[in-house]
Amino acid sequence: MNTAELFEQFHKIALNPRAQKDAYLKDGEKVVLVTYYVPEQLIHAMGAIPFHTYGGDLPVNEAKQYFPAFICSVMQTMLELGMRGTFEGCSAIVIPSLCDSLKCIGQNWKYAVPSIPFIPLTYPQNRKPDYGAAFTRAGYERMVRELEAATGLQLDETRLKESIRIYNEHNALMREFSALCAEYPQVTATQRSDVYKSAGFMKKEEHAQLLRELIACMKQEVAQKSSGKRIYISGILADAPEWNRILEDYGLQVVGDDILACSRLYRDDCRMPEDGEDAMDALVRLYCDKDHCSLLYDEKKSRVEFIVQEAKQRKADGVILALTKFCDPEEFDNPMIKDACAEAGLPCVVIEMDRQMQNYEQARTIMETFADMIG
């Protein structure tokens, strides 16, 4: 396949997670829904397929019986999809309680979607000391126990090391792809987004294979001339088709991101466990060493400087803070990130987003102005 065909492949998968899930189920696979920082390697090592969900772009009806309107649309639409039966056939959903809304959804899920067991994952926020690592491990062990009950599968300790390797390899490819996007302005916002989105709906080894091909093809190509509007984007999600179209219409090239469902998931590799070392402990460290995320305790708010640095490294001309409406963790960080960008001479704009957004006119106007400003 050539570059265009490969991108088309990613696009199809990104647009149709349900078909993807149904195909896996038809093949007799077990599918487990995951969101935010679930240690997918453990699920992979059990022989099940971790399947991402961050809700979807759809109106909320059913979920209104459970959530008031001021809960973020990621949670609202995730519950909505569950209630509409979109996830039927999945063995379980694992939800980490990293923000207040994530704490709440599990409680609602038990009653709203009884057909898919809710498996809580309780992470420590004080994750650096040994007691934080011990608590993380207890959380993983509990998750595994419940997953074993829900899927009938067993965690294969010997396979875990292999799963960690597969995930590390995939992470590296995702980072390489992100770096390439900064060099190849011809990659559209939609194409970039499709690669990230599809990663959550495929077995990692399958996604890695496709991505390896894509990267090889991209490298054969000649980089087109830059529009001179290189942007770095941060947030939880920014994958709505209409939003990507806006970026494309104004010639905005995404050269790097701190989007949770994109780069934040692939930033850190798990240290390969040595022979005789417990592989689960290595995964515990992966979480405990994680930083620069709005959902993780950060006394010094080092995330702020991290974003400025990344944006500069990628030679971004501007920073977009894609704010998911009603997202507490991000709302508290954004004023500081904005200030830090201003100090660093990086134009920065906050733009509110919503998974149920019908009308992008306001977003379009703001981006038009922003594109003019940085162009």
């Binding site: 019986q65 459970y66 959530f67 008031p68 001021f70 809960i71 309680s97 990293l98 923000c99 207040d100 809304s101 704490k103 709440c104 959804i105 599990g106 409680q107 609602n108 038990k110 009653y111 709203a112 809580p120 309780t122 992470y123 420590p124 926020q125 004080n126 000391p129 007691y131 934080g132 011990a134 608590f135 207890a138 959380g139 709005s294 305790y297 950060d298 006394e299 010094k300 708010k301 702020v304 704010l323 409406k325 009603f326 507490d328 963790p329 709302e331 508290f332 960080d333 954004n334 004023p335 500081m336 904005k338 906050v350």
Partner: protein, 413 residues
């Protein structure tokens, strides 16, 4: 998780529990201000941070949530929210946090409630993770250290050994780090004393609030919103234990004499769910009282029952505060209060500020309503931002609740 501080209409009897409790709450601010003036360190502290720690170490702390409630009750909530919103904070953020971030910046509440600026922050997220974000911002803005005790939301009914170990280790870690930072020393004797007073205050509080079991109730439930400030901040002090015991005594005497602080005929008894709407306290109270509806109980009655015998018991108590427990546990606590206090209806404040408190309240209140067989009605509001409340909606909803309670009474008669 706050206090009421509106002006008294009648001069209070200085021997009354209410007077004493108000004094204790006010003294917390003045003691801290004096300490600051003497050059001592002062901390800002989350409402459900283990108060035993600063109390035993002899540290002066004040409570931003209480301050924000006082500011809101005195009509300055919107003014303060506007300041933080101008700095880029979204108006979807908890209004307590918005008020507090504004206060840390301008250091003046426009007549709301002043308090000394902090040298350190004591944060505990057993009520919400919003608290972590808020205190992180304070720490960065003010360039001061933050001491976090992370008490995760417990998806299970019981506190697991793993959670207990994790939280216990943090208690000690924070104690040691505070010793190093402030130069104060942990003292077992002093801790036992604090634990003793905290237990006395808590038991008296539980007994006092349980007087609502009498019909009519010897008190107006809005009293609890007022008095709980002392339970939050000072329950480890001798004066608090004594004042709570006095409160219990007064409520019992009220019952004996056929009196009540609910100064009208008690026609209906309800449970109230959520934080008070401080900017609209008068309106919300009058809306009930004018219909003879007494809010006889709230989860606060249970929430401050910090009764434990040892360090682990204390750790467990902090793991079991209302916003840290799962739906079933939270529901059962309320069902017990509802049953014990013979309520006839449940009024739920869907609080725009508080995602955790409102995020599974629809389902939980449905279940409570079914189990106790009472009508459930909710209204939209906010504990500190006056813009998120509609008097008309409140009135309609309360009227609706009353009509169902009335129909139920007739059906049972």
């Amino acid at each position: 998780m706050a206090e009421e501080t509106k002006k008294e209409r009648r001069p209070l009897d200085p021997n009354s529990a209410k007077y004493k409790l108000n004094q204790i709450a006010a003294k917390a601010y003045s003691d801290a201000a004096e300490a600051k003036a003497r050059g001592e360190m002062v901390g800002w502290c989350s409402s459900n941070f283990p108060v035993e720690i600063p109390e035993t170490l002899g540290l002066y702390v004040v409570y931003p949530e209480n301050q924000a409630a006082a500011i809101a009750a005195r009509g300055q909530g919107e003014h303060m929210c506007n300041i933080s919103e101008a700095d880029g904070y979204s108006n979807d953020i908890c209004a307590y946090a918005r008020i507090s971030l504004a206060y840390a910046k301008v250091k003046d509440s426009n007549g709301g409630q002043e308090m000394p600026q902090p040298d350190f922050l004591l944060c505990c997220n057993n009520i919400c993770n919003c608290m972590i974000k808020w205190y992180e911002d304070l720490a960065r803005q003010l360039q001061i250290p933050m001491f976090l005790i992370d008490i995760p939301f417990n998806p299970d009914y019981e506190v697991s050994d793993a959670q207990l170990a994790y939280v216990r280790a943090q208690f000690w870690d924070v104690i040691h780090r505070l010793e190093a930072f402030t130069g104060k020393k942990w003292n077992e004797e002093k801790y036992k004393e604090v634990m003793g007073y905290s237990g006395r205050s808590s038991r008296a509080w539980l007994r006092a609030t349980a007087k609502a079991q009498y019909e009519p109730s010897p008190f107006n439930g809005f009293d609890l919103l007022n008095h709980m400030a002392v339970m939050v901040t000072a329950r480890g002090k001798k004066e608090a234990a004594e004042a709570m015991e006095l409160l219990e005594k007064e409520y019992e005497e009220n019952h004996q004499k056929g009196e009540s602080t609910f100064r009208t005929e008690e026609k209906y008894r309800i449970m109230f769910e959520g934080i008070a709407c401080w900017p609209w306290l008068r309106v919300t109270a009058t809306g009930l009282k004018s219909r003879g509806i007494n809010m006889v109980t709230t989860i606060y009655a249970d929430a401050f029952g910090f009764v434990y015998d040892d360090f682990d018991g204390m750790v467990r108590a902090y793991c079991n505060v209302p916003n840290a427990i799962n739906l079933e546990h939270a529901r059962d606590k309320r069902v017990k209060l509802a049953t014990d206090n013979h309520i006839e209806g449940l009024l739920v404040h869907t609080n725009r500020s508080c995602k955790l408190w409102s995020g599974f309240m629809y389902e939980m209140s449905r279940q409570i309503g079914e189990k106790v067989d009472v009508p459930v009605v909710s209204f939209d509001g906010d504990q500190a931002d006056p813009r998120n409340f509609s008097e008309a909606q409140y009135d309609t909803r309360v009227q609706g609740l009353m009509e169902i309670m009335e129909a139920n009474k007739e059906a049972r008669a």
